[in-house]
Structure formats: C-alpha cells, structure tokens
C-alpha cells in the first residue's frame, strides 16, 4: 500500500485502522474502490425490494388513484436532497476548520448528487401535482423551499468550480455551505409564512394519502436504496477528485504508471 500520510507512533508500525484512517486520500481511494461494487449491489437490491412492495403489494389510493405511487420516489428524493446538503456542509466545514483535504474533496463530491436529488424531487413533484391538483407547478411551501435548495446547490457548485486553486475553492465553498445551512430554517419559515399569506386554500404536498403500512415500507426501502446509491456515486466521484487534486503525489503517479485499471 502507499506510504501513510498519517504520523505513526512507532517507526515500523503496520497500518492499523484508526478513526481517521480514511483522512488520507490514498487510503480512502483504495477502500472506496473495493467497496463500490458492493454498494451498487446493495442499492439495487433495496431498490427492487422497494419497488416490489410499492407496486405489487401496496394498494391503490382511494382519492389519488395510481398517481400517488410517485410518492415512493418523490419523498425519498426530497429527504436525500436535504440530508446531503447537511452532510456536505458538515464535511466542508470540517475540511476548512481542520485543513483536512479529504473532507473538502468529499464535500465537493457530494454536491452534484445532492443537486440531482433536488431536481428529481422537483420533477416528481410536478408530475405528481399535475394529475392531483391540476397544475404542473404549485408554489407550496415545501416545493418552493426545494427550489431554493436547488439554487443553493447550484451556487455551491458554481463557486467551487469558478475558483481554480483547490484550497481557496474548498474553503470558500465551506463558508457558502455553512451560510446556506444556517439560512435554510429562516428561508423555510419565511416561505411557509408567505405561502399561508397568499393562498386561500392551502395546497400542500403534506396532503398526502393516508399511508398504509405497505406504502410506508415501500417509501422506507426506496429511501434506503437512494441513500446507499448516493454512497456509490459520491465515492466514485470522490475517487476521481482525489486523482485530480492529488496528481502530484507519489502514489497517484505510481497508480497511473501501473497502467489504468479501475
């Protein structure tokens, strides 16, 4: 394996696993490379299980008919979009405060996936809204907040991509992500206020069908599937970013010289 980037207490100590083992980009790279195929497999299994429960077992909704089944991907996508933003802000802040390169690289790997889930939540929200409420877009509090979340993601990506120097890009992104994270409750509260002000009949995505147990199970399984899927894509992207940003280091040179293998 590569030279440890971590200090060891004894001169010839074998690399033992520590809580910060994967703070070393080389170690993360290797570990992720081994794990990713299994992660994909798990995501697929969970996804298929969720789809089976959602379509074969869950009953038709009385009010919304079959259209309600969109909820099985709409809600997981929305949850993932919010979770990933918080995780992103956490790792970005960690990387900034402790000058931990791997944490910063990981944050940048998270962003596109988070943005994707936000897009998916908006898309499925629109396709759910059209048959249910008659309009392709409803400015209800949660969809509107989801839209603003997409803007926050795009801002983070735009800023980190616009700065060439990796350290400045990572730290600027971290500050932006933190500012965004702190503002999210304020934004959500004000959007909810705005929504109740302007709409007579409060159309809300929370007017979801009363959930039978099978429906909840389908949603849970698909949420887990999305969560595991996000690890697969984010770790793949993180490996790419590690190679891009650590291209000067010895282990990367050796890796490339040894001939490209996945």
């Amino acid at each position: 394996m590569s030279q440890a980037a971590l200090p060891s207490s004894a001169p010839n100590s074998a690399p033992r696993w520590r809580w910060n083992t994967y703070a070393a980009p080389s170690r993360f790279y290797a570990m992720a490379g081994l794990a990713i195929p299994w992660i994909w497999a798990l995501a697929l299994i969970l996804g298929l299980a969720g789809l089976w429960v959602g379509f074969a077992m869950a009953p038709t909704d009385f009010q919304q008919g079959e259209a309600y089944r969109i909820i099985f991907i709409h809600v997981p996508a929305a949850w993932m979009s919010m979770l990933i933003y918080l995780v992103l802000a956490f790792w970005a802040a960690w990387g900034w405060m402790l000058n931990a390169r791997m944490a910063s690289m990981y944050a940048r790997a998270l962003a596109p996936t988070g943005a994707l889930f936000t897009l998916l939540a908006l898309w499925t929200g629109a396709l759910w809204g059209k048959p249910t409420w008659g309009a392709w877009w409803v400015w209800d509090a949660r969809l509107s907040s989801e839209f603003i979340l997409l803007l926050l993601y795009l801002g983070y990506i735009a800023l980190t991509e616009a700065i060439d120097e990796p350290r400045r890009a990572a730290h600027a992104g971290a500050l932006l992500a933190l500012v965004g994270a702190v503002n999210i409750p304020i934004i959500y509260f004000s959007v909810r206020w705005w929504n109740t002000l302007h709409q007579g009949a409060t159309i809300s995505m929370t007017a979801a069908p009363k959930m039978a147990t099978t429906m909840l199970w389908a949603m849970l399984l698909l949420t887990l599937s999305f969560w595991v899927y996000s690890f697969a894509v984010v770790w793949t992207r993180a490996r790419a970013i590690v190679l891009e940003q650590e291209s000067d280091s010895e282990w990367v040179r050796q890796l490339k010289a040894g001939g490209p293998k996945s």
């Binding site: 603003i148 803007l151 800023l159 400045r168 932006l176 965004g180 934004i187 004000s190």
Partner: protein
C-alpha cells in the same frame, strides 16, 4: 474580534468620496432600478388594478437586483491596487474595513433606492400608505442586501465571473427579507396594520441578525480569498 471606529470612519469617508467622484458610475444602479421596474408595465399591460397589485413585488425585486449589481465593486477596487491585502495584515483592521465599506455601499447605493421608490410607487398607482410602507420596508431591507452582498462579493473576489456569481449566491439568501418586506406592504393595502407591524418586526429582526453575522462571515471570506 475588536474593531477600530477610527478606521471604520476613515474607510467610510474614503469610499463615499470615491463614489462622489465617479458620480455617474455610482448612479448606474439607481438607473437600472428605475429602468427595470419601469419595463414591467410595458410587459404586463397598463391595467391599473394589475399594476397596483404587482407593484410592490416588482419594486422590491428590482431593488434586490440593483443592489447585487453595485455590490461587486465593494472590494474589487482595493483588491486590485493591493490595499486590501495591506488591510489584512492588521487583525482588527478587517472588520472595521468591512463595516465601513458596507455602510458606504448602503449610503450611496441602498439609500438612493429608498429615495427613488416613491416615484416608482406612483408609477404603479400605489396608495400613499402603501408607498410609505414600501419606503420603510426598503429602508430596513436595503442594509440587509448590502450586508449579504458583501459576503458574496468577498467570496468571489477577483474571479472572472464574480459579478454573475454574486447574483446566484446571494439572491436566494435575500428571499426572507423580500417576503417580509412585501408582506408589510401587502398588509397595509389590506388594511391590517397589526400584520404590517408583525412583518416589519420580522424584517427588523432579520436586519439585526444579519448585522451581527454577515460582517464576520465577510471577514472570513476575505481571508479565504486573499490567503
């Protein structure tokens, strides 16, 4: 983090003097404000009822855009001639500098929007009370825009696409201020003074929170951009 009032005052006077010298440049955001807001009746139609309804929203949004336009210049001038890096050296200097510059920006750019808003209010056929509330809401809101714009401006210091980036980064964060500002005007139009009071209080609270946090974030952003 400590602050030097003398430095703040010095920076404030200097920036205001610079703005006064380049008067046309300083008035461009105001020009944009008026032109942009003035375009809407042509796009939406001259029907007075419609205009009165959408007027406050349009004036506020155009104020947002105008503030973003002018904010990118906040640090660029000093950055280009190297004086910003000098200010980085002294530890208490940076916060004073930021506060001075934000204040200067608000006095030169933000206040002009507040002063111009009654004119636009008339163009949209708003009532006197609505116009008064519009002015008041902008009076509380434009400092928030200057403060948030400072953070964005500091983060994007020296970047090619910095000006456009500031829009994308900062505008979503201004949405709460927009909502409460418009809410106050709407409440006055609906004849609900207490609700207007509530909106103004929330806007005021936002202003205080932003005053306490944005300058520190701006200092952090400047350190990131300059190191």
């Amino acid at each position: 983090m400590s602050m030097s009032l003398r430095l703040l005052w010095a920076v404030l006077r200097r920036d205001l003097r610079l703005a006064a010298r380049r008067r046309v440049e300083a008035l461009l955001p105001l020009g944009f404000f008026v032109v942009a807001a003035g375009l809407f009746p042509f796009g939406v139609g001259p029907e007075p009822q419609t205009l009165r309804q959408i007027g406050p929203g349009i004036v506020w949004v155009c104020a947002l855009l105008s503030a973003m336009l002018s904010v990118t210049q906040m640090f660029n001038g000093d950055w280009q001639d190297g004086s910003l890096e000098q200010m980085l050296m002294s530890p208490r200097g940076l916060l004073s500098v930021v506060l001075g510059k934000v204040l200067a920006h608000w006095l030169s750019a933000g206040l002009s929007l507040v002063v111009a808003s009654p004119l636009l209010g008339l163009l949209f056929g708003m009532s006197a009370q609505s116009i008064a509330m519009l002015c008041l809401s902008l009076l509380l809101g434009t400092p928030i825009l200057s403060l948030l714009g400072a953070v964005g401006s500091a983060l994007t210091l020296g970047l090619r696409s910095g000006a456009a980036l500031v829009f994308l980064l900062v505008l979503p964060l201004t949405i709460p201020a927009l909502i409460f500002g418009i809410g106050a005007v709407g409440a006055v139009e609906a004849g609900l003074p207490q609700q207007a009071q509530a909106h103004l209080s929330l806007l005021g609270a936002l202003l205080i929170m932003t005053c306490l946090s944005a300058p520190l974030a701006t200092v952090a952003a400047l350190r990131i951009s300059l190191d």
